[in-house]
Amino acid sequence: MSRKQVKGEYIETDTGNKVARKANLVGTQHIMLGGKTVIQAEAMIRGDLARTAQPASTTTAAPGSNTAVAIGRYCFLSKGCCLRPPGRIYKGTFTYLPLRLGDHVFVGEGTVVQAATVGSHVHIGANVVIGEFAIIKDYVRVLDGAIVPPNMVIPSFSIVAGQPARVVGEVPEGGHEAFELRELYKTVGNNPQPLPVTTTETVSYECLSTKFSSSMRTSIRTFGGLSGFENGQPHLDEIPSFAKSSV
């Protein structure tokens, strides 16, 4: 306790994780961080919803064998987001399955992620809901307010939006550089550095979102007649509420 230094907003670990003191991490023994991950205030991670290993082996199992939430490097969990492992009935008993995030995953404010897997270089906007057992591949951009239904699989390089979410566009050629979160990582912490002012590679987030929303608009226009996106008749008319706990 006495070794504790001046209290900054963040706790910085040896592996470079920056965890806000006000973050709510429940069941930290089941949460794996890959390093250089930022967890902002009020972010919640439900590590306690872990799969209980076979009753006999709980004490002998290697640590981390029943990880509930695994997070890669350079992830960024914004304020108020919530990561919780998805649960379902498996072999007759209800169980939670691990939630895995790849590297360079950005999770926006107020977003709830209950996916099974999120690939690397994924940008998830603010106030998004990712349904249970969704699988998001690499280089996907989920725009603000999207509601990804349970069990949806989002292919790489997609841009996804809407309620329920569907693919509305593709990440443009060369656009994948924007998913790097190394610079963003440096801007938070106890002695934050300002975001370097733009070379073309490191586009700031504001530019990015406008850039993408404009490209989204064009693609909606393109696909509008086909997908029925505009007349508000979604293909997916319901979240299968208990599919998650029973399939």
Binding site: K4, I11, T13, D14, T15, N17, V19, N24, L25, V26, G27, T28, Q29, I31, M32, L33, G34, G35, M44, R46, G47, D48, L49, A50, R51, T52, P55, C82, G87, I89, T93, F94, T95, Y96, G110, V112, N127, V129, G131, G145, I147, P149, N151, M152, Q163, P164, G232, P234, H235, L236, D237, E238, I239, P240, S241, F242, A243, S245, S246, V247
Partner: protein
């Protein structure tokens, strides 16, 4: 590699003070100690219900009743004050019937609000004051039910307010699945079964003592599985 240095334990902050609500808990509920129970009316929670961390139950505007085998997920706000100032006729604040699930971050306003049996209130939804949600309704994430609205039984509210009827007829199976989740060995995370210690809730991380109730429903569940596979929910 661990989420934080070894010095830091998994300690949830104590619940911030407010008037402590009088509670009437069944002895078999599971509740996280970081759930907030405030207000001066009674909060009733019936048997085998689960309240996750950081759920906020505020009985300042009226009684809160939660039925049997309900699941209230984290960060929900039950009994939130409404923007609508007109006083409600009902003495009840919020009544949540049996087998209902309230998902992460949902808000249920106080003032005679009724959530029917087996309802699913999706992530981040908002149910207005005095709204009456019928049995087995599904509110998909971020749905908003305006104050005073009556939603008939088996309604599915999706995609920003569009509605349709749920004609699958799987309510029994759904209830059984919910029971499974609550009774399962890891259905409730590290939260603790309250047992006889009403009001004295053990810390998360403690050993969960979950009542083991024999479940002869394996067959039922198999049926459920088959039904789910045979229907294309995602079109």
């Amino acid at each position: 590699m661990a989420s934080s240095s070894s010095k830091r334990q998994s300690v949830l902050p104590r619940t911030p003070a407010g008037p402590k609500a009088p509670v009437n808990f069944s002895s078999s509920i599971t509740i996280a100690d970081s759930a907030q129970l405030t207000g001066h009316h009674t909060i009733n929670i019936s048997s085998e219900s689960v309240v996750h961390p950081r759920a906020k139950l505020d009985s300042a505007k009226g009684r809160i009743t939660i039925g049997r085998r309900c699941i209230v997920h984290e960060r929900t706000s039950i009994g939130a004050a409404s923007a609508d100032p007109t006083p409600s006729e009902s003495r009840d604040g919020v009544f949540i019937s049996d087998y209902a699930t309230v998902e992460v971050g949902a808000v249920i306003e106080s003032g005679g609000t009724i959530i029917g049996e087996g309802c699913l209130v999706g992530v981040g939804s908002r149910v207005g004051k005095g709204a009456k949600i019928g049995k087995h309704c599904i509110l998909t994430p971020k749905s908003v039910i305006p104050p005073g609205e009556e939603v008939p039984d088996f309604t599915v509210v999706y995609s920003n307010g569009t509605r349709r009827m749920d004609k699958r007829g799987v309510t029994d199976l759904k209830n059984k699945a919910q029971a499974r989740q609550i009774e399962g060995p890891d259905g409730n995370g590290s939260m603790v079964y309250v047992g006889q210690a009403v009001g004295k809730v053990a810390r998360p991380g403690g050993v969960a003592v979950v009542p083991t109730i024999p479940l002869p429903e394996a067959l039922y569940l198999r049926c459920l599985k088959e039904r789910l596979f045979s229907r294309n929910y995602i079109r």
